[in-house]
């Protein structure tokens, strides 16, 4: 098994990496690139902690071969705030509603929540809960998380009025 060159654009920055074909995207993002906001937890595609956006769609980093993402645009939790440090509206809503307990599931929850609000600007509570089904919160802080996504939804609606 030989190392391969992998070109990735992560959070707007181009990387040329040398990796083995059996390396997983979550490990490359965390260890090779050093962006540890993305979490590793179950490793079997059950918990959603390793969620990253590949070409703007949420996927599981622990179930994706890094080589298969060649040429793709990767977005991690570190990449959603503005370059000047201004938080993404959903990050802001998580802070304002205290939707974070231990924080381990938060990066995945925010990326999936953003995906929902991009596709559906006015989701119901049921739609929110369905969309985050693949993300587990071991603190069981789901109510707060749903509240944060709702707040972001309402804030967005208000700004557009």
């Amino acid at each position: 098994m030989k190392k391969q060159t992998l070109n990735l654009n992560i959070n707007g920055e181009d990387f040329e990496l040398r990796i083995f074909p059996n390396e997983l995207l979550v490990n490359v993002v965390r260890e090779t690139v050093g962006l540890t906001g993305t979490k590793y937890a179950c490793g079997t595609g059950q918990c959603g902690a390793c969620t990253v956006l590949v070409d703007d769609e949420p996927v599981l980093g622990c179930m994706t071969l890094a080589v298969s993402a060649a040429g793709s645009k990767i977005t991690t939790i570190e990449g959603i705030a503005e370059p000047d440090g201004k938080l993404d509206p959903l990050q802001d809503a998580f802070l304002k509603t205290n939707a974070i307990q231990c924080g381990f599931c938060t990066p995945g929850m925010i990326l999936v929540g953003k995906d929902l609000l991009k596709k559906n600007t006015n989701p119901t509570e049921n739609e929110i809960r369905h969309h985050i089904k693949g993300n587990l919160c071991r603190c069981t802080g789901y109510n707060g998380i749903v509240r944060a996504i709702k707040k972001c939804r309402d804030d967005m609606a208000e700004r557009n009025l």
Binding site: E57, V59, M63, L65
Partner: protein, 295 residues
Amino acid sequence: MKMNTRIISHEFDYHAPDTIREVLEMLDQHGSDAKIIAGGTDLITQMKMGKRTPSHVVDIRKLKDLRYYVEGAVIKIGAGNNFRSVMEHFANNVPCRGLYEAIYSIGKTQVLNMGTIGGNLSNGSPKADTAPPLLTYNARVKLLSLKSERLIDLKDLHVGYNKTVMEENEIMTEIQFDALPKNTAGAFEKKARVGSDISKITCAVTVTRDNDVCRNCNIALGAAAPVPMRAPVAESIMKGRPFSDQLLEDTALQVGREINPPAYGRTSVEYRREMVAVMFKDGFKRAWEQAGGDK
């Protein structure tokens, strides 16, 4: 069983060919040493567990030639379409409601983006959620190798627990079925441990209605036997008869009798038998309502 979920410990070469032909050549050349990867949600777990250790992994996810839909007398679905795409394609299709609900029930946003309909079927699991609704449509799958192309009935694809008739050098390229008759509707019911877990038991129903007469009631079950299965005896109770509550009860009981679940896995045999009858009734009622009849 060996299980390190953090890494894949065995070594392999990775290939991402640009054409189906190159994929087939690679499979022909490497035989059982090669394994196709599409979404990876099944294969990566199997590799982490050491259940599969291919020395060549052939990625078909980026092959556009496997992502298409054809509408008409025969509905064709490219095997490379991901779950999300198939779900959106059938979102407003009343006859194919069962397929939509089956994919919706998978639930997990990330898996909907990753997993493909062809992968779901060719992985061979009796728990594959897309299999029961497609079985009620009498679907066929197209299997392609370098030297042959064959169209087989989906009901003949699975031949045992996690086993299919697919040869090592074959890939699934298409799923197809005849357009469903009018006044047809379907439903899919599933029980799982938590929202996004793999199924404990599933039931798909597709009903064709002629006023109060049930012209056809196709029933298929997942995680109910070593392979996804139809329930022909239960179907024959309902078929061609005017609907009545008693008939529904009798059919539901027969569905429970007809399944052949293993005595291991995510739940007990007794639970599956009891639940599948209830699930069938719930699914049937929804489908029956939607099928409307000639009113």
